[in-house]
């Protein structure tokens, strides 16, 4: 790993947001927001440049302080990480733009929740750190930074509902972190190293490794709100401020998914069995159906969107049973690996854009009406056509209708399911699409229906609606560069790989 080209970018990607966040703390309310917004744009610009670097030079590393692993901290910016960091930046900067106006309108006296900005920048730094870290402990620190910032953001509004939901979130986060740390401890105990690359090579199958795998997966599943640990997500995401909900649903939960993906493919290949992969897929399938069903039953927009997040995250988990190869199957012959990976990437991208857009639209509705009961959405196409369009487009992507990003994800997922012969996942995907269509069209139906009575509504600044619409369109536009994106991702060692399970005679390894 240390032979790869070095670059200061990985460190900057974590350091700059932190610096800007700290800088912001020195200002008073309005100044803080300005610093925050400017900081967001700066960080986004940095990400853009770093992304470009990676396309030119391939995977970049940065060795902090010059101390090499296994004791030092190595940050790795490979194409996969770059895509996630890029996603965070693009969605994040649009949400920042939205927040500037939204928060000010929401609480004009204090300049709109000034603590939002440093917290958001810390969160961003933590996410970047999570995507870049290459050793288990740095990952733990990143997870913590992300977790605490996220909870703090979630309780920002100060309402009792937000506080209760935030406490639940925090407890789940701590439980998840402790579980993760336990696994890290076990891995260190058995191998003496924390570096992901080295672990992948020296890890041997055994009780300790299996237990570590299970407990780390447990921790990460709690944090990704997988069934049956999903209960904290709907209240937390729905009672937070709309821009925060967007950040949480679109970006934060993707971080722990990324981690799950990395650790399973790069570290744990040796102790995974086919059954464990199936178990994860089952959790995902149940989440898809359960979450969509719950969304259908809600009567508040933010709750619908939050439950929808649980469901859509379930799709991500359904990738795992496809990645774990049955005994005897080699990665070379498994032509479903590519579609499975593509499905995962596109589900992450499409869901991030669509979900952020939906939460931002929900914020617009709340600002206009003062509440988010969906019965008041009647005739939305007349009094807020842009927002109705945004909801429609984002919803279509969630259902997975062509030619959206969500369609690409479901297409690839079904391809992977069929190619691998694991057809039993197809009904879950099928039911998920139908139920998603159910709640999306429930919203659209109301949007087209004539109004019952003329309710009062506040005018909403155009820029907010434009932000929501942009993100919704984004969920469609990500399909266009598909070829180049996949080619770019192939530069990452881990993309397109499968996890070969233990075979007889002790042959193991991940290619």
């Amino acid at each position: 790993m240390t032979h790869l080209p070095t670059s200061p970018f990985p460190a900057l990607l974590v350091g700059l947001p932190v610096l800007l966040a700290v800088l912001g703390l020195f200002f008073r309310a309005r100044g803080r927001a300005a610093v925050g917004l400017a900081g967001s744009f700066l960080t986004a610009g940095l990400v853009f440049v770093a992304f470009f670097e990676v396309t030119q030079r391939g995977t970049l590393i940065h060795i902090l302080g010059g101390w090499e692993p296994p004791l030092g901290i190595l940050l790795r910016l490979d194409p996969l990480a770059a895509v996630f960091i890029g996603l965070t930046a693009v969605v994040g900067v649009v949400i920042s733009l939205y927040s500037w106006w939204y928060l000010r309108a929401r609480e004009a006296c204090t300049g709109g929740f000034p603590l939002f900005w440093p917290l958001w920048l810390f969160l961003w730094a933590g996410l970047n750190g999570l995507f870049l870290s290459n050793d288990l402990f740095n990952l733990f620190v990143a997870i913590e930074v992300v977790g605490i910032s996220a909870v703090a953001l979630a309780v920002l509004s100060g309402s009792s509902a937000a506080l209760a939901a935030g406490l639940r979130y925090l407890l789940a986060a701590i439980a998840g972190s402790m579980a993760y740390l336990f696994g890290v401890a076990l891995l260190y105990g058995s191998t003496g190293t924390l570096d992901i690359g080295i672990l992948g090579q020296v890890l041997e199958p055994g009780a300790t490794t299996t237990f570590a795998l299970l407990v780390i997966t447990l921790g990460l599943m709690i944090k990704t709100a997988s069934f049956p640990f999903h209960f904290w997500l709907p209240p937390a995401h729905s009672s937070a401020l709309p821009p925060v909900s967007a950040l949480l649903s679109a970006l934060v939960v993707k971080g722990t998914f990324y981690l799950l993906l990395r650790l399973w493919t790069e570290v744990f290949g040796v102790s995974l069995t086919f059954a464990v992969g199936q178990f994860l897929g089952l959790a995902g399938a149940i989440a898809v159906i359960w979450g969509s069903w719950q969304a259908l039953m809600q009567d508040r927009l933010k709750l619908i969107v939050a439950h929808s997040s649980v469901a859509q995250l379930g799709y991500l988990l359904m990738i795992f049973p496809l990645l774990v190869l049955a005994p005897g199957v080699t990665a070379g012959s498994a032509d479903w690996l590519y579609p499975a990976w593509t499905a995962g990437i596109y589900q992450v991208l499409a869901h991030a854009f669509a979900k952020a857009s939906l939460f931002l639209s929900a914020g617009i509705i709340v600002m206009a009406l003062g509440h988010d009961r969906i019965q008041s959405l009647r005739d939305l196409v007349a009094w807020m056509p842009m927002t109705a369009l945004a909801i429609g487009i984002a919803g279509v992507s969630l259902i997975g209708l062509p030619p959206s990003g969500g369609f690409m994800a479901k297409w690839m997922l079904l391809k992977g399911i069929f190619l691998s012969g694991q057809w039993w996942w197809a009904p879950a995907a099928f039911a998920g699409s139908l139920l998603t269509a159910g709640y999306v069209f429930m919203l659209l139906r109301l949007a087209f229906a004539p109004a019952r009575e003329e309710g009062p509504f506040r005018p909403v600044p155009r820029i907010l609606q434009v932000c929501a619409l942009l993100l919704a369109l984004g969920s469609f536009l990500i399909v266009l560069p598909a070829e180049s994106l996949i080619r770019f991702l192939e530069g990452s060692e881990v993309f397109g790989t499968g996890i070969e399970t233990i075979m007889e005679g002790g042959a193991y390894g991940n290619d």
């Binding site: 004791l71 402990f137 733990f140 620190v141 913590e144 977790g147 605490i148 909870v151 703090a152 309780v155 009792s160 506080l163 209760a164 935030g166 406490l167 639940r168 925090l170 407890l171 986060a173 701590i174 439980a175 972190s177 402790m178 579980a179 740390l181 336990f182 890290v184 401890a185 076990l186 260190y188 105990g189 924390l194 237990f211 407990v215 209960f231």
Partner: protein, 100 residues
């Protein structure tokens, strides 16, 4: 059985007790204490590894990890406690009325 294996086992037990405790009760403080117990188990496990393989001196890496972990756990607990306190102030509730 070697020493550190006893420690590992104990830590596993503590961890499970803590995890169960988080889900078992709805009371805020009980849940927070449960997470601390989980943490305790994990830290015990981590620290026990610093004495493995009969090294001449204790391995400092687990020490560093545990210290970081304890700091994080304490801060999180403090955060959780302040949230619980605020909820009590606002609503008078001390537990989640309907769990999950």
């Amino acid at each position: 059985m070697e020493t550190y294996q006893i420690y590992s086992l104990t830590s596993a037990v503590l961890f499970v007790i803590g995890l169960a405790g988080v889900f078992a009760s709805g009371h805020f403080i009980k849940k927070i204490i449960a997470t601390n117990i989980m943490g305790g188990g994990v830290f015990l496990c981590l620290v026990s590894f610093s004495g493995r393989d009969a090294l001449a001196f204790a391995d400092p890496v687990p020490h560093a990890l545990v210290i970081t972990g304890i700091v994080v756990a304490v801060s999180s607990a403090a955060f959780a406690l302040s949230l619980a306190r605020r909820i009590k102030q606002l609503t008078g509730k001390e537990s989640f009325s309907n769990d999950k």
